[in-house]
Point group: C3
Chain length 145, copies 3
């Protein structure tokens, strides 16, 4: 049984308590939404393209509105989000389609990269690996292309 | 605390509601069953053998009846399940032992592969990466050899 | 909604049942603890260093007391924990900081390694891949550097 169907079972069972506000339950309880964090940590443009392919295929299969995707870029993979990235054009396309791309600030610090060195419109997290852990705890799937 | 033990805790706490049917609860509530999706997305027969080793080792350690395993093959890994696969014999053995192997139809389309080009008795999913997300949401572990 | 916040929601909703002991709930219910299993299965010292970097970065970002980390070493990665490992010094440092490192006994058997061939103070599991599955079922995140 999935977490989500377990949740539903509990909500059913708790029918008489239904008027209580449930902390953490969004107003539109998108129970069917599928979410994934996609890890990019290799210094390998082939992998960067695979990560972008995976994200695109999820949107094509499920519809962009039924899914939430975040590509977490860290360690040796950081070049994917640098201003001179060979996949800059595809990153911009992905951002335009609602896919989040985030760079690890720990990695940037270690490589003396500033925000100005990075592609526009991306997001930032303090530690890529911690972001992957947090998202998994929130029920997101993990994909490592 | 695991999802499963959380579930058990709730069932205990909800003891007086126990007569209500719980949607999604199987008749044999195999709470101890361990399930994993195993990702194969590299064009690398060495990785294909590792994936099959991992599945075999899980069955050896837990017993085939106490586990459910699905190897999801997509992207550059698709050759693992083509009729001329170098691991064809091992794939047949794994299928015979109850391990599921599924090929990604998106990948097949992109590579102009038909069902006739593939090994017998495998399964199919429309998008390998979506299958990995769905299974994780249902509580399956994710393994990337 | 995360598993943890779902739990909290249920605990809130079940307020009137709060005096019942909840099986599986630890005495200090460290709901905010972040846990991860980190897989090492490549015969590649570069990956071994990445795994150790990931663990260190998690501790740096969250504080060692707010996280639990276990590096699971198996298959072609087993050399990371052999007595002659090129990362022996870093493994000792990580152990000293409360990071667990465990070797797969299946792999050791296949490679005719005894406990005496391994680094001191590490842990052992019968099957690395099963350990990764068990930990994920208990809510640990999965990281494959």
């Amino acid at each position: 049984m999935s977490i989500m169907s377990a949740r539903r079972a509990h909500l059913t069972a708790l029918g008489l308590l239904a008027l209580m506000p449930l902390p953490g339950l969004a107003q539109k309880p998108d129970l069917e939404m599928l979410r994934a964090v996609i890890q990019v940590s290799d210094n390998d443009p082939h992998k960067w393209n695979l990560a972008l392919n995976n994200a695109r295929n999820v949107q094509n299969d499920l519809g962009a509105e039924a899914t939430e995707l975040e590509i977490v870029v860290y360690g040796p993979g950081i070049g994917m989000l640098k201003a001179d990235s060979p996949v800059a054009k595809r990153v911009a396309d992905a951002l335009g389609k609602g896919i989040k791309l985030v760079a690890c600030e720990n990695t940037m610090k270690a490589q003396r990269l500033t925000y100005g060195d990075m592609l526009p419109n991306i997001g930032y997290v303090s530690a890529g690996v911690v972001e992957l852990m947090k998202k998994q705890r929130e029920g997101w799937a993990y994909i490592r292309p």
